[in-house]
């Protein structure tokens, strides 16, 4: 705060990936929340729906997990569903869980509350996680979710998915001037954020699990350069997902590519990198790049 003018502060924040991420989250949120109102008031329905299925003109997007669920319960392949799933699946396949960290309205709200709390005190924004569970839980959640869906025969996630509910409540409010009781789920998710950052996203979001699974071998990863790391652990405290990039966990399947750690690292030991092969091969890869891929070496330096 001291020694920096307002303009300088803005300039330095523009250089941060997370400023842009927040901007994109905000824009996505505005579209999701604002569209029903536009729709209701002026009957402009070029865009319809929210993150269960989103229609922009003739481009249809269907969320992979919800699409899978209806296919499983209806036992019927519908071309529009499959085609709609292509874009998100491709996105997750190449970039990992970027839907979660760059588009999801729940992440926007969590990020916003984090920012508001951070305004009160820095400690609150990057607070310690009070509850930590084994990260593997998310796979059990996904499996349980699909099993329950199969057993009771109704797709489950489509009606309690928090990101979907945000859009639905906006729509309910725009069209019928009511908020439904399901909003409790959204509130609960945000409430658990106070105990552990992104508690729901980390351990209990089946959609996040699906996207993580699809993006297991993703092309966009956070690369950790051991030689540059001065072991300050700044990245570990900043990571909203409770991942420790300082011990090379950033390329694990649980990282959602938010780049909080990249922004934080004082020595630029962490960077967004295209086309890496995962933690296990990192060391081999490093030695290989120095021989083969010289231009990549330049970018990491």
């Amino acid at each position: 705060m001291k020694g920096k003018s307002f303009l300088e502060k803005i300039r330095s924040s523009l250089g941060k990936i997370n400023t842009w991420r927040f901007f994109i989250l905000f824009s996505a949120f505005v579209v999701i929340i604002g569209n029903p109102f536009v729709n209701y008031k002026w009957d402009i329905n070029f865009i319809q729906g929210w993150f269960q299925s989103f229609g922009i003109g003739n481009l249809w997007i269907v969320s992979p997990l919800e699409g899978l669920e209806t296919i499983l319960t209806a036992k019927f392949l519908y071309t529009a569903t499959i085609v709609g799933m292509v874009v998100p699946v491709l996105l997750a396949f190449l970039l990992g869980r970027v839907f979660c960290s760059w588009l999801c309205p729940i992440e926007f709200l969590s990020n916003l509350t984090d920012r508001v709390l951070g305004f009160l005190s820095k400690k609150l924004r990057y607070r310690k996680d009070l509850i930590t569970l084994p990260r593997r839980i998310i796979w059990f959640v996904l499996i349980t979710e699909l099993l329950i869906t199969l057993i009771i025969g109704y797709p489950m996630f489509v009606w309690w998915s928090p990101p979907g509910l945000v859009g639905r409540e906006a729509m309910f409010y725009a069209f019928y001037k009511v908020i439904t009781i399901e909003i409790v789920i959204v509130v609960a998710v945000l409430f658990f954020n106070l105990l552990t950052r992104r508690f729901f996203c980390r351990y209990f979001c089946p959609l996040g699990a699906t996207l993580a699974l699809i993006g297991k071998k993703r092309q966009l990863v956070i690369k950790y350069d051991k030689d540059k790391c001065i072991n300050c652990k700044a990245c570990d405290t900043k990571c909203p997902m409770g991942i420790k990039p300082s011990i090379g966990e950033s390329q694990s399947v649980y990282c959602w590519n938010c780049a909080e750690c990249v922004d934080t690292c004082p020595t630029k030991a962490l960077s967004f990198t295209w086309n890496d092969d995962g933690i296990i091969k990192l060391k081999v890869h490093n030695s290989l790049t120095s021989m083969k891929n010289t231009d990549k070496l330049i970018t990491t330096k």
Partner: protein, 221 residues
């Protein structure tokens, strides 16, 4: 005056936020848990046009709200958990509030095939049933009126609804789409003896092609 500590300020804000959220939810018609898995589709509460049979519908519908957002008449509404149980988020049309005008926009945006693209005249959302006790034309001896409102408003007048030689309307069930325009416009509720009851109601029916509609399905309720 005592100054608020930061912790208190957070508590108060959070508390009032939660209170606001909860008090804005209307719980008055919360469903009995046992009925949460029973379909809320009933007389005058119908699925949008092109809907697959009710047993299939909630399995296919992804609850994306796109059908309701394109409907120019805003006739599609959605159940929530308190009125629809596991059917929450699925669309319905209450023909007494706004009937469907068969513009056929909604069926073309459904991403999952819960609403199947079809033509206007293939729609079978339900079937109109005339209560002859309440219809002013059927009671013309008593009322002295010969109302033809339902006939006039029906998009398939003369096909789905016909008028007999005494100017009394009757429904041709094979061709009725169940759009509910007739029920919505019926004037019988204005007639004092009917206590605000309409003479036409729309009973739900499975969506099928015209030829395959079985009258037993229609008449069972």
């Amino acid at each position: 005056m005592r100054k608020f500590t930061r912790r208190e300020a957070i508590k108060v804000t959070l508390g009032s936020f939660l209170a606001g959220i909860f008090s804005s939810c209307d719980l008055s018609d919360l469903k009995n848990p046992k009925t949460m898995i029973k379909t809320p589709i009933k007389t005058n509460i119908l699925r949008p046009p092109g809907a697959v049979p009710e047993e299939e519908f909630a399995k296919k519908c992804i609850r994306c709200g796109r059908c309701g957002e394109v409907c120019p008449y805003h006739c599609i509404k959605y159940f929530d958990v308190k009125s629809g149980g596991v059917f929450s988020g699925t669309p319905y049309i209450n023909v007494m509030e706004v009937p469907c005008y068969l513009c056929m926009k909604c069926v073309y945006v459904c991403p999952t095939g819960a609403l199947v693209p079809c033509d206007k005249d293939e729609v079978r959302m339900g079937v109109a049933v005339i209560n002859r006790e309440a219809c002013v034309s059927w009671q013309q001896e008593k009322t002295g009126l010969m109302c033809k409102t339902c006939f006039n408003v029906c998009p398939f007048a003369g096909i789905a609804i016909k008028i007999d030689h005494d100017f009394r309307p009757y429904i041709v069930e094979e061709y009725c789409t169940g759009c509910g325009i007739c029920a919505y416009s019926c004037i019988a509720d204005q007639y004092p003896e009917n206590n605000g009851k309409k003479a036409i109601t729309i009973e739900p029916v499975k969506w099928k092609k015209i030829k395959k509609v079985k009258l037993e399905d229609i008449k069972k309720s």
